[in-house]
């Protein structure tokens, strides 16, 4: 194929506008395909992070909106293999206004356990102590603090919706984390003091830290079994599974991603096939001349296929660049999906896209190239489009 490269390049450059349009069209489709495959990979094929494997989340079996008795915490602590249990309460609420841009996750947690549960969160010791020693203190992830320009000591007011209280918090620490780093954490004890007495005995979720990752499935089963005959049954799953359950709220995302990927690939095939058919038809007479000069049918086939593969691979590179840009756009979107916050086009998707580009280049040019190489010289020379 390499031998055909100079001629293929020359042919590609002849009708620059068409080649450019084809490349752009392929790039647009492949950029989409790249992002969708990156999402698919992030959602369904990545196992979660190393430290995640040690954490489980217990919630009410009925739904996330139905609370659990706070007394469950000490009972769960007794389960073999459990290192620590922490109250983890979604606060919801409103910061500034109800605009979606001002949405971020706020959790009431037990301040003395927070950084034990999340060993990958890095925070200076004096900030950690300041957070733990002051009941109205809070800590925020670096990107979140940057988003609002918060500095240590700033006041942050959250208006409650699930809880009928407004909280006045003081920022005492900013932590760095590789993942899921746009959250705000504050003292559960502060929330508990502020809410009506009838709400104090219930919390939304508990986070369990396992001593070892191997015992995680056993802990999940043991916890759920413990409360099976209680008024509030529990559902305990790994943090990863918990995150994934949110995805199912969007409907059948898997089918959506696959269906669109299929449609895009098919469109790609059509577009490239169409271009190659047009480009081959335009130069049938030229093919006749090449044959007269002694090019074999195989040679003709090679030239056409090389050109087509060249176009689609260039398009693929361009498209993958755009994909990465789209990923950056999605990373910045206000969402609580940690997977989206980390979205990149992984190497596996790059490899797959390039492979697909080569396949599309070959498949789309196959028929026109084949018929051009088979056409008798006389027919070629006489051909008038």
């Amino acid at each position: 194929m390499v031998n055909h490269l100079p001629l293929a390049v020359k042919n590609g450059l002849r009708n620059r506008r068409r080649s450019l349009l084809t490349i752009l069209s392929i790039a647009a489709s492949l950029s989409l395909l790249g992002v969708l495959m990156a999402m698919y990979q992030a959602f369904y094929l990545s196992p979660g992070t190393e430290d995640q494997a040690f954490r489980l989340i217990t919630r009410n079996r009925i739904s996330l909106a139905t609370p659990l008795p706070v007394s469950y915490r000490d009972q769960i602590k007794q389960v073999p293999g459990v290192r620590e249990v922490m109250i983890f309460q979604w606060f919801g609420g409103v910061y500034k206004d109800t605009n979606f841009e001002n949405f971020f996750a706020r959790f009431a947690v037990e301040a003395d356990k927070e950084f034990l549960m999340y060993p990958t969160y890095r925070i200076p010791d004096e900030q950690k102590r300041a957070f733990q020693n002051e009941r109205t203190a809070c800590v925020a992830g670096r990107p979140l603090a940057d988003r609002y320009g918060w500095k240590l000591g700033d006041r942050i007011t959250l208006m409650g919706d699930i809880y009928p209280v407004d909280l006045e918090l003081t920022l005492r620490g900013i932590y760095d984390a590789p993942r899921d780093n746009e959250n705000l954490f504050f003292h559960y004890l502060y929330l508990r003091e502020a809410i009506p007495a009838s709400m104090r005995d219930y919390v939304g979720t508990f986070i369990i830290l396992a001593k070892d990752r191997d015992v995680v499935p056993r802990i999940a089963a043991a916890v759920d079994k413990m409360f099976v005959n209680s008024p509030a049954q529990t559902k305990t799953e790994t943090e990863r599974a918990f995150e994934m359950s949110f995805l199912s709220y969007l409907g059948n995302v898997k089918v959506f991603l696959l269906a669109v990927c299929g449609a895009v690939t098919f469109t790609l095939l059509l577009v490239t096939g169409n271009t190659m058919a047009m480009s081959v038809r335009e130069r049938v007479r030229e093919v006749g001349i090449l044959k007269t000069l002694g090019f074999t049918p195989g040679g003709i086939l090679g030239i056409v296929l090389t050109e087509s593969v060249l176009l689609s691979v260039i398009g693929a590179f361009l498209g993958l660049g755009v994909s990465e840009g789209l990923c950056a756009f999605l990373r910045r979107s206000p969402t609580t999906f940690a997977d989206l916050k980390m979205l990149h086009v992984p190497y596996s998707v790059i490899a797959l896209s390039l492979l697909l580009a080569v396949f599309i280049g070959l498949a789309s040019a196959a028929i026109p190239a084949w018929s051009a190489s088979k056409r008798p010289i006389i027919d070629c020379l006489r051909f008038n489009d």
Binding site: P164, Y249, G251, T267, V271, A277
Partner: protein, 388 residues
Amino acid sequence: MAIPLSYNLRNLSVRWTTTVMTAVGIGLTVTVMVSILGLVEGLHTSLAATGNPRHVLVMRKGSTSELTSTMTRQTFQDLRFTPGILRSPSGDPLASLEMVTVMVLESPDRPEGMNITLRGLLPVGFTLREQLKVVEGRKFLPGNREVIVGKSISDRYPKARIGRTLRFGRGEWTVVGVFDSGLSAANSEVFADLDQVSADFFRSDILSSVLARTADETAARTLVSRLSSDRRFSVLALTEREYYEQQTKSGDVVKILGFIVAAIMAVGSSFAAMNTMYAAVSRRAAEIGTLRVLGFTRGSILLSFFLESVFLSLLGGTFGCLLALPLNLVQAGIGNWVTFSEITFAFHVGPKTMAEGLAFAMLMGVVGGLLPARMAASKEIVIALRET
């Protein structure tokens, strides 16, 4: 003078392979777009039909949904005689105290179970929902551990068919009937006796919300402001329609994602259409020259090629819409972020959605056809005639 449209039609049919390939490319883009629109439309229809503009929903102040709201029997007694709420012939206010919670139902494709809205209500609740019809079996009897399920629930969850028993709360419940309330979201709910359900969930005095009927929309708005401003209650009142319209936000993520996908696909398809049209123009250079010699103006050539591109895209658009039509038979479920439970709805690919799809196709044709048409129009006669 305009060039007859049949000229363009013949051209499209002579090069039919190119035409078909380009049109199918545009068509698939339109299918994706129409599917998304059909989903959003279906969700909207389902939720909008649930909200009666004459009904007022009362919840605890600060709550965002019936699920997180609380309503004591005392508050209900205090507010049910508020002026503006209609009375039944026997003199009782048409106000329904209800309890809303969720239960888990497993289905073959979701073995881990999906959250379903469970609603406890009194007979007056059925009076207010007059569009609701029991299509199979009967209503539950007050005081019994019986439930009736919405039509979508019974269709999607084999465990919730008539005669089966469901486990939730403190024990087992028998499914005694299936109801249909038209397109409304109630079809994704399970109904049971208020007192039985609230006792099972240890909430006999802490229920969820009140639904009240007023004479008309104006009266509904008056009641909303009267209840909201009454300091004794500290409640949030809104018309039922407003409440359900807020919930259509559940489809926003899918909608935005879908539009981005369709937009990027459209860019690709526009380039493809442009390619096809450029090829058509360069192939027909001599024809264009001849047309000019015959006296057709540059303007009419521009228009002619432009229309050809639009026509090509409409062909694709029609194909795309047809491809999306079977979606009308598909029932889908989407998680409701407000209630943390599932809303079931049917895709709705109707005339409006298809018109939007065709408009979208036309846009691709316009973008793809404008530049090639301009090139065709700007050709000089002599040069055009010499081109082969």
